[in-house]
Assembly symmetry: none
Homo-oligomer: 215 residues x 4
């Protein structure tokens, strides 16, 4: 009954780290449950149980179910995209390699981790959390598109690319990442999709497209 994960202390004040740790435990549990059930169907009972605390304790850390969900998403959206982009741009390598680097990073750091699940959660629920959509756009999407544009612009300036397609629609670069995320969320039991292969082929194709001679 008493889950003794973290030494139960009915006692006194919490150090900031303790509070931080507990918050993280709750968020971890919440992520599991929200991923499995979706926002509405997720039960706080379940979250509390998995975190090894009483249901009431949740309310010491989050004001409501909605707040828990939003805090969770926010905490997960730390966007390392910009960092990768900067790293790419800092190197003296062809723009082609930068784009490939970005996609490889997506393979490893998005499709290969829980980030894909978070993305799916956002895609599924953000419709009902407009602020969250805005937040995600600001923190992730706009930064991502900026990076892509920077790379493509450089590629065009350097004469590597003949097309500015990705400057106008940087979404085209990451579209297959989305497909990979959604496909494996919906159809993995019916027909698996080799997302690594997908992105490799995509890279080849798009690079050819960007470089290509006459259309």
């Amino acid at each position: 009954m008493q889950v003794t994960k973290t030494a139960r202390k009915p006692g006194r004040a919490l150090t900031p780290e303790e509070r931080q740790t507990k918050t993280q435990q709750l968020l971890d549990a919440a992520l599991d449950v929200f991923l499995e059930r979706g926002f509405e169907a997720a039960r706080l009972d379940e979250v509390a149980k998995r975190a090894g605390v009483a249901k009431g304790t949740l309310y010491l850390y989050f004001a409501s179910k909605e707040a828990l969900f939003e805090d969770l998403i926010r905490s997960l959206i730390a966007s390392p995209i910009q960092e990768v982009g900067q790293r790419m741009l800092a190197q003296d390598i062809p723009a082609e390699m930068m784009l490939r680097g970005l996609l490889n990073w997506a393979k490893k750091e998005v499709l290969g981790t829980r980030r894909k699940d978070i993305a799916r959660l956002i895609i599924s629920e953000a419709g009902r959390f407009p602020e969250l959509g805005a937040f995600y756009h600001r923190e992730v999407i706009s930064r991502g598109t900026a990076v892509i544009r920077a790379i493509v612009t450089r590629g065009v300036e350097r004469g590597e690319f003949t097309s500015d397609a990705l400057d106008r629609f940087p979404q085209l670069l990451i579209a297959p990442v989305l497909v990979g995320i959604i496909w494996n969320g919906l159809f993995s039991h019916v027909e698996t999709l080799d997302t690594d292969g997908l992105l490799d082929v995509h890279a080849d194709l798009i690079i050819r497209g960007l470089k290509g001679g006459a259309a």
Copy 2:
């Protein structure tokens, strides 16, 4: 949304068409509500109100909330994709034109109609309705990929295309359609995306990629 208050008749037997019409009204209302709220948060009260009937009436047409949802999806998935594909393949036009034709069809018939909403609904909810995912895959996805493969294969055979990328990953052709659907579902208030332009540029880019010389 638009309650067309079809003269309330407690009375006589319904002709099949009347029943059909009423069913459709209910499904229309249901689509609105499911789209706005998601499956769990959707209230049958709301569906009934928008359809201009009493709550109990819903149960004369659908056995349960879940049945309503599934019937809704099924009714909307009549997949005309195959038909377009056949039409394309039947013509004596370059494979390139076929692919462009497909994307133009998507612009008009998916992104330009409620089909995009259905897709979004499926993306959001199919995780909790595995059968629905399978059904959608069977009725829509697998047919769509088959059509794409047929076109690409012909293009390669005729020497139009040098790459079989889309034969291996036909998902790459429709990935931007997905992006368009999701983007406008999530970020339309923040940054609109010109999906028509997106698909046009995508078409150009991918065609160049498929035809392109050395990668």
Copy 3:
């Protein structure tokens, strides 16, 4: 769909006999359903279906579910008890034989027919239909006890019986009938009770008791 039991006549007036017949059909169906489910759990849908009419038709014959139930019970309580009693008393036979005759009649005409089911229905539901209880008491119980008392009084007067026990508590004569009804309603699947044997032994025992010498 169209049950053609009784020539469907959407047309005009009903003769009294037709109305009578239809009423009886509805009551028959109602009895079945009330017996199977009890008053509350009985569904008028079911009654209508079994009677081969539409649900609305029920309301042409009975004002409400409650009225249907009460009419049903009333129609079933035609009490032949008094008649049997009169017949017994009219004969010039020992009081003992009269009592045995009464119990034999109960074996055949109560335990051997649907009357036992009706009794069980009344026992189960009359708590919530006080008028019905009063009605049943007046029509059946009080007549039954009167008959028993008349017989016993005669037996005592004639010197056949030394005890007036049944005059004070005529219920004692029919108690085993009740037991038989209830037992087979509740425990027949677990342990069957030979109600005929029960009543035979009861007759012997009670006669001996009524006649017996010093207790």
Copy 4:
């Protein structure tokens, strides 16, 4: 009925006794309502109100309305019958006195307590709860009949009784108890029945029957 408003405590863990007490309060309230209305017509709102708790609280103690009902019956059926029987058989008294003892016990401990109400509830509802019927038969009926048979057998062996009627049909001993229960449930407003007198006379009569000379 009597809301004893046990100081509302949203707080701390309940001791087993507290839980036990609360459970009992709920069961008491439930018994009242089920008796007044029957299973189907009983409203959990009403049960909760009478117990002085919120409706949701019921579900902390019972999984469903059906579970509440079954737990209620089970909790009330603790059968002390066997115990009385053993006590009787242990004494060195005539079998006649044992039977009288049994009936006196029934007067006091069944007809004089809520046990009579439970019996009535079972009689009314067990038709739709077959398991309950089986349970009641196993826990109460079969034990009761065993006790009666043991007493009668001894009486016959000792030469007290000349009839084995009750060995064949022990139900005959308790039949008037049933009559008493049902009568007062249905007709008490119309004609009261002196159940004590009923059972006294029954005792005399049946003893005479069991002892009596030639029938």
